[in-house]
């Protein structure tokens, strides 16, 4: 019997939900085991970086990479797994577009460390601040160095396929696994390089069953302040900012079906240049006012437009970061060190 093709999965700046989503494919995970040799998957098995380094270049058939590139360890692993893999998939929103970890691009590193280690929400009586290198009696201990901004996987290495979602839906993962197995068995062909896979090519609105009439919004409200939400009517029409118009289909409009607004986890739909810009266009179109003061009063109902429009997509947007982080220099701020 010929050896099974090799499979790897790795996480960088992410929450771990993508790993759970893969395990959440239930029996499908047995197909992975039956058809692949899992050679590297830190969340599921013990393996060392040096084991990967020892592998032949291109010897892993499929690597699912989740997480953004936040530090030099992430970057190093991205380059390493790129070399070792034939197919590298940016798996999940963090790898594709930065996702929630990418929101930290709105703040320069010193502020991030300040908030994480020295604000009231952190109990840190000794005022400990992490250092990239620490001379312990046993030898020097090191930590990875943080980069000024988080980058998406494709901003760092060449990526073959993109699979959106926070996390990708289990049935979509199962379908992609099935496809790769069929390709291995010579029964199917891979989609063109660069394709966005495991999703639709339309918008969430397109899959949404809610009724749409003419949208004329006189006030934006938070969902908890609209009680009760009409179960049949478009959420946006009821004044709750819904990101469905700019978001890629693939989840079967999971959130609007469940009585909540889409927050955009499947990322930009096809042909969207800048996800936030598309939403600004969409929301501005439905505001029912013409006088600047009146418009401003309605827009006050979206207290954090940057967060609303770029919750998942900030690191992959045209600007990619807030001004403070964009202008920061790595020599001015080292990882943990105080500037």
């Amino acid at each position: 019997m010929t050896a099974k093709p090799k499979f790897a999965m790795y996480w960088a700046a992410s929450c771990g939900g993508c790993e759970i989503a893969v395990l959440n494919t239930h029996e499908k995970i047995l197909d992975v085991d039956a058809n692949f040799e899992v050679v590297f998957w830190p969340v599921a098995m013990d393996a060392k970086y040096k084991d990967v380094e020892a592998m032949e270049d291109g010897s892993i058939l499929l690597t699912l990479w989740n997480g953004g590139i936040r530090n030099n360890e992430n970057a190093e692993m991205a380059h390493l797994l790129r070399r070792k893999s034939q197919i590298l998939v940016a798996f999940g929103s963090c790898a594709c577009e930065g996702c929630i970890p990418g929101l930290a691009n709105l703040s320069p590193l010193n502020e991030i460390f300040e908030t994480a280690y020295h604000t009231v929400s952190t109990e840190n009586p000794q005022n400990i601040h992490p250092q990239v290198s620490y001379p312990a009696p046993e030898g020097t201990l090191t930590l990875p160095t943080m980069n000024p901004v988080l980058k998406t996987l494709a901003q760092v290495v060449d990526v073959d396929y993109f699979m959106p979602g926070c996390p990708p839906e289990s049935h979509q993962i199962a379908a992609v696994i099935d496809l790769v197995i069929q390709v291995v068995q010579g029964k199917a062909e891979l989609p063109p390089k660069g394709s966005v896979i495991g999703c639709g090519d339309s918008t969430v609105c397109d899959e949404c069953p809610r009724t749409r009439n003419v949208k004329a919004i006189t006030a934006f409200k938070r969902i908890q302040d609209v009680a009760p939400l009409d179960p049949e009517l478009c959420v946006l029409e009821q004044g709750v900012p819904c990101n469905g118009p700019a978001t890629r289909s693939g989840c079967n409009a999971r959130c609007p079906r469940a009585g909540a607004q889409c927050i955009g986890c499947y990322g930009p739909a096809d042909d969207v240049i800048d996800y936030g810009a598309r939403l600004i266009t969409a929301f501005a179109s439905v505001v029912d006012a013409r006088e600047p003061a009146e418009i401003e009063a309605i827009l006050d109902g979206i207290p954090d437009p940057t967060g609303q429009f770029y919750r998942f997509n900030l690191a992959d947007s045209l600007l990619r970061a807030g001004k403070g982080a964009a202008m920061s220099r790595p020599n001015a701020i080292t990882s943990g060190g105080k500037p």
Partner: protein, 160 residues
Amino acid sequence: MTDTFEPVIVGFTCNWCSYRAADAAGTARVKYAPNVRLIRLMCSGRLDPAFVLKALAGGADGVLISGCHPGDCHYIEQNYKALRRFLLLRRTLKGFGVEPERVKLVWASAAEGVRLAHEINAFVEEIRKLGPLNWPKWDNQSGRDLPADIEPQPIEEVPA
């Protein structure tokens, strides 16, 4: 910043009014600052906020949007949409830490060449006061203004 800072401004004009206003200013030999590069759209309603973001990300220090006066848009309502997009975009830019004043909206009819020239000159001075935006090129190779990543170092594993 420096005395020699010459702001780069991208101006989006509407075919029916402000583009003609700019033209009229030229014909009447009314001078306006050469800092602004005008791009003609069919209507201010064609302005995708992505154009503004792309201009700022690509090196512009400010963006001017102009269109027909309220009520005068040749496509009826579109300049109201432009107004709402503009107001929402400014709020969004603020969240990025970018001064919202870098984007300005001016209504100008085809007859208002002198006024448009005046508005352009005033905007150039406002941007000059704000200083350069200088958005990084986000290019790993170019090196210019790049918040470059720190050189990858070999990873040392710490035994668990």
